[in-house]
Amino acid sequence: MSTSEMLGKVLAGLGKVGEIEASAISTRDGLLMNADMHAAGDPETFVAMSATMLGAAETATSELGKSVPNRVIVETDDGKLICMGAGPKALVVVMTAPDAGLGLVLVEMAKAAEKIERLI
């Protein structure tokens, strides 16, 4: 199985969490590696902007001498966008349903992030 296929499997696993509507994996510099978007928008821009958010958040906290953020969560009326580092080279990002509970989603994302880090 190629790396891309294996990453696809990780995303498929996330997709089984009912409350996750879309998910993607990209490099830290915002290049798309794999996405499970269900035709919701343009994955290239989606992951690039996610990389921008995560990178900017990391710089903002480290400017204040604080540790690197564990994740960036963006809340909208239509759901939550959650962006998380997956090792030094990659990141994973998901979009949830509006009423999704964070607990399960975050646990599943952390598991996925660990797998991604080991795959690349």
Partner: protein, 390 residues
């Protein structure tokens, strides 16, 4: 001529304030105007000119502390910095100063002291009033205006330059008009900009009778230490991937930070420049197309643009032009930086002009961001263009 030491202003005033003439910094309430007079006297005394500071609202020792907060050490001026103490008399305190106004609420007492200083100064110098408005509050508006005429005559007689800090509190219309139009040879307005997205402060020449008036205003910022800087809140650095934008921002800035991952900018570069009386905040954009929404976001409110090009990479020149469109910078001052001139394949600025089909009036300047070569020349060129637009 005695220079004011305020960036840009001496240019507007054709060199500064001539001997025997007067200037007022006419400040609108809410704007920090006192620093103008402070910077002017420190600039003069540090250039070997005799300076007198008339303290009306602050204790002389506190005044020296205020100056040193800006990094101006009045004790280093070898006795060329003289304080007229028109404050201690108000609170009944003893004074250490050579010149003391016994009754600061009596304009005649003040005039007497000021005349005495002017007579005793060993050479033509500059006399700066900490606060003309405080004097008006203490002595009365019309009394003060009458006294001003007397001081001006005396200053003319002895070839001293007079500089006033004045805050335009709600005095009578007549008084304000008089200060604005009649009492001084030159009037510099110092005001704030509100309501815009950028909240800023500016100064400009309202009146000058020894040269043509330059109807320009300059944004400024007060740094501690440092004093007044002509200030550009946003200069954008954009250009294709790998052109050297981040390198350029760091080479130019006193301090800078980049949000880069895996060697490329994914959010922005930000730097602050403080150089030769000019300060600016510099925003570098990403270059890769997938970040174009960020480029657009960053470019709002920019006052000038650097377009960085890798002079060896002709295939990216089109992308460079395209990025100028993305920034919606039409009509803004632009300097094209022909970067990486250290490489043997680098095109010259003129060759780049032909490739880009740019008209002759567009500035294209050579640089090596990696070593800093040409970086400040490009900065000064753009700053001049931005300041001209006002």
């Amino acid at each position: 001529m005695i220079e004011t030491g305020i960036p840009k202003l001496d240019g507007y005033l054709h060199g500064g304030v001539p001997e025997g003439r007067s200037l007022v910094y006419y400040t609108y309430p809410g704007v920090a105007g006192d620093v103008f007079g402070m910077q002017t006297i420190c600039h003069a005394t540090s250039n070997g000119i005799l300076g007198v500071y008339v303290a009306s609202s602050t204790d002389p020792q506190m005044i020296r502390d205020q100056f040193s907060e800006f990094g101006w050490a009045t004790e280093d001026y070898n006795g060329r910095f003289i304080v007229v103490d028109a404050f201690s008399g108000l609170i009944g305190a003893d004074s250490q100063e050579r010149y003391v106004v016994s009754d600061p609420e009596d304009v005649n007492s003040l005039t007497q002291c000021i005349k005495k200083v002017m007579e005793e100064m060993s050479e033509p110098g500059i006399i700066v009033f900490e606060s003309l408005s405080t004097i008006m509050d203490l002595c009365g508006e019309s009394e003060t205006l009458d006294a001003l005429e007397e001081w001006s005559q005396y200053a003319m007689l002895y070839d001293h330059a007079l500089v006033y800090n004045f805050t335009a509190w709600p005095y009578s219309e007549e008084t304000l008009l008089h200060v604005k139009e009649n009492v001084c040879n030159s009037v510099i307005s110092v005001g704030g900009i509100t309501g815009d997205v950028i909240f800023g402060q500016y100064f400009g020449v309202l009146k000058v009778d020894w040269t043509d008036i330059a109807r320009k205003s300059t944004l400024f910022k007060v740094l501690k230490p440092g004093g007044i800087r002509a200030y550009i809140p946003k200069i954008l650095v954009t250009g294709p991937f790998d052109a050297g934008k981040s390198t350029f921002v760091h080479a130019l800035s006193n301090r800078a930070i980049s949000v880069d991952r895996l060697g490329t900018t994914i959010a922005l570069d930000h730097g602050h420049v403080d150089r030769k009386g000019f300060a600016a905040d510099i925003f570098g954009t990403p270059g890769q197309e997938r970040f174009d929404p960020i480029v657009k976001l960053l470019s709002g409110e920019a006052m000038g643009i650097f377009l960085l090009l890798d002079s060896t990479n002709t295939t990216d020149f089109k992308r460079g032009k395209r990025m100028l469109e993305i920034t919606e910078s039409f009509g803004l001052p632009v300097v094209i930086v022909a970067n990486k001139q250290d490489m043997s394949e680098a095109l010259t600025p003129e060759e780049i002009r032909r490739e880009l089909d740019m008209p002759a009036n567009v500035q294209i300047m050579p640089a090596v961001a990696a070593t800093g070569e040409g970086v400040f020349e490009a900065f000064e060129t753009l700053v001049d263009m931005v300041m001209e637009v006002d």
